[in-house]
Symmetry: C2
Subunit: 185 residues, 2 copies
């Protein structure tokens, strides 16, 4: 293994503040060899929880909504930003209930992942939730029209393996969950 030599951040400047949605920072970095990189952009987006929920009837709930970065409607796993210092599992349960009206009995953590290793762009906390049941109607407070769509495991697998889920975090979480479920061959 290489010697662990970290980068030293200096002159950190806040360029754009749209808290709590986004903050853009810029800083200089002094590298282990002494070289300095100027004007390094750091994109601070909130951490979020994402849930692959397997219902007792074998279906998986997805949410469909217009997504500005894709200029299209996307089918995605239920997900949402964590509140300040919120436990990621608590946030995952909250988002699943808000977006789909489901609660689940059996939760498995699938890992935490940074969306851009250079810039940040938020950390995803990914979960598999088994034994999901409808307990309420969806009650999301997000902007725009959002609808819930139920796919079977087969439909989910086929769409995922053909590259049909264009949200990176969604496709990441589906792969991890299908693996735990022993569903990928």
């Amino acid at each position: 293994m290489d010697k662990v030599e970290t980068w030293q951040v200096v002159n950190r400047r806040l360029l754009v503040d749209r808290s709590p949605y986004a903050r853009i920072f810029e800083h200089d970095v002094i590298m282990p060899g002494g070289e300095t990189i100027h004007d390094w952009i750091d994109v601070e987006l909130p951490p979020f929880a994402m849930v692959f929920a397997l219902c007792e009837d074998g279906t998986i709930p997805f949410v469909r909504q217009y997504r500005q970065a894709a200029l299209a409607y996307l089918l995605e796993l239920p997900a949402g930003h964590l509140d300040d210092d919120e436990d990621p599992l608590v946030g995952a349960k909250r988002e699943l209930r808000e977006e789909t009206g489901l609660e689940a009995s059996d939760w498995t953590f699938l890992g935490r992942y940074v969306m851009d290793a250079n810039r940040g762009c938020g950390w995803a906390y990914t979960y598999l939730a088994r034994g999901a049941c409808q307990v309420a109607a969806p009650n999301h407070g997000d902007v725009g029209v959002m609808s819930v769509h139920l796919l079977t495991l087969d439909e989910t697998y086929k769409l995922w393996s053909s590259g049909g889920f264009h949200s990176g975090p969604t496709s990441l979480c589906i792969g991890l969950a299908l693996n735990v479920l022993g569903r990928i061959v």
Copy 2:
């Protein structure tokens, strides 16, 4: 399916310009119902290609480098930004050769994915490359110390399924590639 009603972007402003690495925009959005969202942040990062390369000896090359957003050294699949209008497959081959010195004979596209469906943060073009062979020494021009590490399929699978790859795009691409290789059960 819902009626396809897109959002209308108005008053687009460039807030931060660090081309070609990052541009931060802000705009207002008029939604289908007429509601306006002000000051929507859009993070434009370059598209990138990422490669899960399977060598003829059964190993997979990873690159290890310090990553500012994780404040740690991360093990990631070879990847890099696409040049202007560069074909993603051409970019994937270039990045694999630059970062590892490998060339591969058999390429499979695994899909394109946006890292943040709200903000953007770059699109990943993911590939599986089989029949990879060493043809040169690595010759990367990136900043900092980068080293190549070879893992077996078993090692890759174990680390991936335990959440050990903290880069979102890397874990996404590993799952898609292991599925095509029939390696996940």
